[in-house]
């Protein structure tokens, strides 16, 4: 039994040695040079012919454990629209704390082209044309442009990066905006280290092998075997984005790694990283930059006592603290889940998302409230891995306060967010709730928050052809937040109203009142006394489009089909009610047709209603989308829904003299 196993391992080993190799640099075939287009996608401006990446954990030149990453690619460029592939930026992470940073070396590049006589020529990238840039305190980069690009050329380049962050094995993106003939990623992991690998996206690997390399890692007398992993994919289609989709990352095919545990080669001590949620819970609780900050409630004891003085209701207490935090902090535009020191951030009024929200949790706890942290992946950061815990997927943290059987999610980085409402960027996939004393769990981030507007128009048609009356707009929920942001862009309410009027030349605002701008939990109400130039003069017969205010004219969905879900982040609702009082001698000849359309499975509806009054009529309509996300299979229904709305809104009413 033992014997066969050994043979099997040897066989695998030799097999992988033979197959898992970077392709040779500097080789070009006539076929590659002659290629006019890519048969699998004739619309492509370029195609990756071969791509090979290799990550290994090894001992670096300074005797420290390093991750060594090598990248090598060969790309066919059909026309100038793919020239951007010849401009390369290699980003390097610097860590000021211990002055260690990633180092790039062995940058080589070459362009092959056919000269005017049809002979293949090459031009090499010169070392002095590689530009090093210190971008900011976190990042440096090397930038270069491959020389001699022209239609039909082939470019090839490679580089090597040595990173002190051995524990972050690079993600391999299999898919790009141009197709790839073949892409392969090779990973060498010494037995001291244990990683989880996962593949994202809908595409299937065409190669996945693993083997053992013996004695491949050695340092200070300790040595071990390595796992050699190879992932390959052939004929990878180009990735094409759709409108109203969340992060392309959610749909792009990629290979990801997460450290599970490792044994120090120096002292043999085993360090557990992420394996199960309970391990992560422990890790976060004891992390001085996470749990360590969350629990610093004594910092805010005195402040909180002042804020909640005299309040008995827990919601009122939480609101008082939240609102104070919103005003106190100025967000420094950095996101993240770790805070070095909430006390320092508090003192300077300035902090990252983690500084602000972890300190908010500490303050809420100081008030005796049950406050937890929720780790989130923002919309542009993509969905999180739910197969096993991947702590690196999260990039944002908010507070959750539980009062009675209610809980409220809070982000104090924006002074205009109402209590319990999160910014749009947070409405993504699932969040993980962490507390200092309970096991963590997932919650759904499609929250009960909504966007909702209601218009009410009460107008009188006058003998001079003008419509005069009152226009009221209520903005609820997230829409109210957006409205406040819009209003605050102006230095005063007057300047805001001026801008509203400025965009509507046919409308004269005679008077205005805007309420609840600073009462964040209430809908924003805008009330305008208006005069609208409807008709130059009042003829015996006039046509009236009851949708004249806010009519839908074009369908947001133009394409025949769609590959990814339509993700609006939250449900929405728009209502409009218009009442028109007619001059005594006028009457409605043809009223608008009643319309009722709905989306399958209660996904939404559009309903109109017409009521006749005392020499007046009232027309109302409602457009409602009840879901945040509509699957690609629901796309045709959404498109048709809009088509029907547009159709119905073309219809006009006749009003005539008796």
């Amino acid at each position: 039994m033992k014997k066969t196993l050994l043979i099997l391992i040897i066989a695998l080993f030799t097999f992988t040695l033979a197959s898992a190799q970077d392709f040779p640099y500097g080789n070009i075939t006539t076929q590659e040079m002659n290629m006019k287009s890519y048969p699998n996608d004739t619309s492509a401006h370029g195609v990756v012919l071969q791509e090979f990446g290799k990550s290994s954990i090894n001992i670096g030149s300074d005797d420290n454990i390093k991750q060594i990453y090598e990248y090598h690619v060969k790309i066919k460029i059909f026309d100038s629209k793919a020239f951007d592939k010849g401009t390369v930026k290699v980003y390097l992470y610097r860590n000021d704390k211990n002055d260690s940073y990633e180092e790039v070396s062995d940058i080589k590049g070459v362009t092959y082209y056919k000269d005017d006589n049809g002979f293949t020529q090459k031009v090499e990238l010169e070392d002095k044309k590689v530009y090093p840039v210190k971008e900011n305190k976190y990042w440096a980069s090397y930038k270069f442009a491959l020389p001699g690009l022209r239609n039909g050329c082939v470019i090839e380049y490679k580089y090597r990066v040595e990173s002190p962050r051995w524990y972050k094995i690079r993600t391999w993106d299999l898919q790009d905006d141009i197709p790839k003939v073949y892409s392969e990623y090779e990973v060498h992991i010494p037995g001291f280290f244990n990683f989880n690998a996962s593949i994202k996206g809908p595409l299937k690997l065409t190669k996945a092998t693993s083997a053992i390399e013996t004695k491949c890692f050695e340092t200070h007398g300790a040595s071990c075997d390595c796992s050699l992993l190879n992932y390959g994919m052939s004929n990878i289609p180009a990735f094409i984005t759709d409108e109203y989709m969340t992060s392309p990352k959610n749909f792009l095919s990629s290979i990801n790694f997460e450290l599970v545990d490792w044994t120090s080669p120096y002292d043999g001590v085993k360090h557990k990283e992420t394996k199960e949620w309970k391990d992560i819970d422990y890790l976060l609780k004891t992390d001085p930059e996470f749990g360590g900050q969350m629990k610093r409630k004594s910092l805010f004891k005195d402040k909180v006592a002042q804020l909640i003085a005299g309040k008995t209701d827990d919601v009122a207490k939480a609101k008082a603290i939240y609102q104070y935090w919103q005003k106190w902090f100025k967000w420094n535009e950095f996101i993240g889940t770790d805070s070095e020191n909430i006390s320092k951030a508090y003192d300077t009024h300035s902090g990252s998302i983690a500084d602000i929200n972890l300190s908010l949790i500490a303050a809420l706890s100081a008030a005796g409230l049950n406050a937890e942290a929720v780790l989130i992946s923002t919309r542009d950061n993509g969905a999180i891995n739910t197969l096993y815990p991947v702590i690196g997927d999260f990039n944002y943290v908010v507070a959750k306060v539980n009062i009675g059987d209610q809980s409220y999610l809070l982000d104090a980085s924006d002074p205009l967010l109402p209590f319990g409402v999160l910014p749009f960027k947070c409405l993504n996939d699932k969040g993980r709730v962490f507390s200092l004393d309970k096991p963590s769990h997932f919650i759904d981030m499609s929250l009960p928050q909504k966007e909702k507007t209601t218009y009410m128009l009460d107008l009188t048609l006058q003998d001079d052809g003008k419509l005069k009356g009152k226009l009221t707009k209520y903005s609820f929920g997230y829409e109210a937040y957006k409205k406040r942001v819009a209003i605050k862009k102006f230095n005063s309410i007057d300047e805001y109203v001026e801008s509203v009027n400025a965009k509507l030349p046919k409308l004269k605002i005679l008077n205005s009142e805007i309420r609840n701008i600073d009462s964040l939990d209430m809908p924003v109400a805008e009330e305008y006394q208006v005069e609208f130039d409807a008709y130059n003069k009042l003829n015996d017969k006039v046509m009236f489009n009851p949708y004249f205010w806010n009519r839908t004219v074009t369908n947001p969905f133009k394409l025949a089909e769609r590959s990814y879900p339509v993700d609006w982040g939250m449900p929405s609702e728009d209502r409009l009610a218009i009442t028109v009082h007619l001059p005594a001698q006028y009457v409605v000849e043809t009223p608008p047709q009643a319309v009722a359309i709905s989306l399958p499975n209660g996904g939404g509806r559009y309903i109109t209603d017409y009521q006749v009054g005392d020499n007046s009529f009232t027309f109302t309509y409602l457009t409602q989308f009840t879901k945040s996300i509509y699957g690609a299979e629901e796309y045709p229904y959404l498109k048709e829904f809009y088509n029907k709305i547009i159709q119905s809104q073309k219809q006009e009413m006749n009003i005539k003299k008796k």
Partner: protein
């Protein structure tokens, strides 16, 4: 006792107040500076002292009060620097709304980052920046710094009120130099002229000061910012730039210096390239066609990449370098094209231009200075036919300027030195988008038919972005371009004629279900489904600026709809004619049998019009938008 104590504090208070140079209490800001302002510059003092030809020292002091969140950005301190421009002693103080000091900051609070202009691959400029975190408004920050510059060719222009939404209480500018350092200066919209004097050290001083400038509002259709804002530009007579010395008092001399020192000797090409160029043009006799051939060769071979290193971004890469690398920025590509043309003895000029689509900005004919242009183009002076070309595009035809560099004064480097020249203008008639369509609408509301459009003048480029895309992509884009719901394209033919008078033509065969909405015996549809104006410039209260229309244009559309037999019109047919100095519009429809013929012509005339005309412009657009939204209602007989 109590009273005494209060008195004592009062004394201290007044003592510190008098000791402080200024009181920055926000309530002291004059009321007329508040409208439309998110921030108010309380005091700005800039001085430039030329100590030597290679040593200029700037002292900058700024005190700014931020009134609300919108003004935060104006308190964001950003200073650029590079090897030749070093920042020193940067520090500042923060005051609350009552003008009491609440904090301070110094160089260690600043972040140093690589600058990025939005398009360059590499730029050797860096920025230092700092934004104080203050959550209570209003607040005031006061800061100062020193800059040492090793060149005296360019001096920062003084623009006391450069941003919208900021008003200015006081701003001053002083230029200090030795008595023998001659300068020329250009004042624009400066009501109080320069005060020229001598300081205690015997140095010559020029100073300007402006007070109480109201916040600038964004007004649509405004002329170029600098035509209505205040500024002072300074040019030296003698200077040193990156170790190269020179002198000039006019465009001719400046052009000569640039040419001799920075551009002239960068045109050597490898022998093979010269031979190749001779080869490919051997059979062409007309020099203009020769130049066209060479330009197209350059376009096919190179592409634009901006890398700004070395002599301040003014010196082009060597032509031989571009020949080898196949890329370059505007300077490098023009220089390279010149070298290629030279191979067949065609002379050409390297030209400095201020680029931009929204405004045609000319170099100042009465004031030569280095910092007025931002782009380089090529001029080929054929006999009686001066041809212009931008060398950064791989697709535009030879001689085509487009709307990026048209109709403006530029500086050409000729063998006799710098010379101001004017680029061609595209007129109202030149910029033509002309469309003819034949559509059928059936009883079910489906639209089908053909549509042919030609684009000329600056409109020639309207389809550039999709010309080389695959068909599927072109269909998708055109579905967004045309406001026809449910549009399906059956056939598309898109062509560009790259002659000296270039034309783009687009032929589409299409159909769209539910184009018309059917309601019992009625049929509703949009009359203008292909060229609908939706823009209305917003109304402006108390407008300050004249109305500026950058270039003229003509849109002509004619659609013949074949409708089902037996229908008549329910409401008055559309018939609108508008004639204004700045534009004309005519739209009409007639029903002849079962043919509904729609004609539309929309013209804008370039020019600057008195600000009083502005409400007319708004009304004009409103009427155009209304006419374009006309809904046809057909009723069965």
């Amino acid at each position: 006792m109590m009273r005494k104590a209060i008195l004592f504090f009062c004394l201290i208070g007044s003592f510190t107040a008098s000791k402080a140079q200024q009181n920055y209490d926000a309530s002291l800001i004059p009321k007329e500076l508040l409208p439309y302002a998110g921030a108010v510059v309380r005091d700005n003092e800039v001085s430039i002292e030329v100590k030597d030809l290679d040593n200029a020292v700037y002292h900058v002091k700024q005190v700014i009060t931020v009134l609300n969140k919108n003004g935060d950005n104006d308190a964001h301190i950003v200073v650029w620097h590079d090897k030749d421009r070093v920042i020193k002693n940067i520090k500042g103080v923060i005051y609350n709304q009552f003008g009491q000091q609440t904090g301070k900051f110094s160089e260690s609070d600043f972040e140093d980052e690589s600058a990025w202009d939005g398009f360059s691959l590499f730029l050797d400029t860096r920025i230092k920046h700092y934004l104080p975190s203050i959550t209570e408004y209003p607040y005031t920050i006061a800061y100062e710094y020193e800059e040492r510059s090793k060149q005296t060719l360019n001096f920062d222009e003084w623009i006391p009120n450069p941003y919208t939404g900021v008003s200015v209480e006081k701003s001053s500018f002083t230029f200090i130099c030795k008595p023998d350092f001659n300068i020329r200066y250009k004042e624009t919209n400066i009501p109080v002229k320069a005060i020229i004097g001598t300081n205690a050290h015997g140095l010559k001083t020029y100073s300007w000061q402006l007070n109480n400038l109201k916040a600038i509002k964004n007004e649509p259709l405004s002329p170029y910012f600098k035509s209505y804002s205040s500024s002072v530009m300074i040019s030296p007579e003698k200077f040193v730039y990156y170790g190269i010395s020179g002198s000039y008092t006019n465009w001719k001399d400046l052009g000569k210096w640039i040419n001799d020192k920075l551009v002239a000797d960068r045109k050597q090409l490898p022998f093979e390239t010269i031979e190749h160029i001779k080869d490919i043009t051997r059979d062409i006799t007309d020099p203009k066609l020769k130049a066209k051939k060479i330009y197209e060769y350059m376009q096919a071979k190179t592409h634009y990449i901006s890398i700004q290193v070395g002599i301040g971004g003014f010196q082009p890469f060597l032509a031989s370098d571009v020949d080898h690398q196949n890329y370059g920025d505007c300077k490098a590509l023009v220089n390279y094209t010149q070298a290629l043309l030279k191979a067949v003895n065609i002379d050409s000029y390297y030209c400095f231009v201020k680029s931009g689509r929204n405004h045609n900005v000319s170099l100042l004919s009465d004031f030569a200075s280095m910092n007025q242009a931002d782009h380089i183009i090529l001029c080929v002076p054929f006999k009686n036919d001066t041809t212009w070309a931008d060398c950064t595009s791989q697709t535009i035809p030879f001689g085509y300027m487009g709307d990026f560099t048209d109709n403006r004064t530029v500086l050409a480097l000729t063998p006799d030195g710098g010379k101001l020249m004017h680029t061609p203008k595209y007129t109202t008639a030149n910029n033509l988008e002309s469309r003819k369509a034949n559509f059928t609408i059936n009883e079910a509301g489906e639209l089908s038919g053909n549509m042919a459009t030609t684009f000329k003048g600056v409109d020639y480029e309207d389809r550039d972005y999709l010309i080389n895309e695959p068909k599927t992509e072109q269909y998708k884009i055109l579905q967004r371009v045309y406001p026809i719901n449910n549009m399906d394209i059956d056939k598309l033919d898109l062509k560009q004629d790259k002659s000296f008078d270039p034309v783009t033509t687009e032929n589409i065969k299409l159909h769209a279900r539910d184009y018309a909405s059917v309601d019992g015996n009625k049929l509703y549809f949009s009359l203008n489904s292909v060229d609908r104006e939706t823009y209305i410039p917003r109304q402006v209260r108390n407008r300050l600026n004249d109305v500026y229309i950058t270039r003229g244009s003509t849109d002509e559309d004619e659609i013949i709809y074949t409708i089902p037999a037996g229908y008549h019109l329910e409401k008055n047919p559309l018939n609108v004619t508008l004639n204004k100095p700045f534009g004309n519009f005519r739209a009409s429809m007639v029903l002849e049998g079962n043919h509904l013929i729609y004609k539309r012509k929309f013209q804008l005339h370039d020019g600057t019009y008195n600000k009083q005309v502005y409400p007319d412009v708004v009304d004009f657009y409103q009427e155009v938008v209304d006419a374009d939204a006309y809904n046809v209602v057909l009723v069965k007989n």
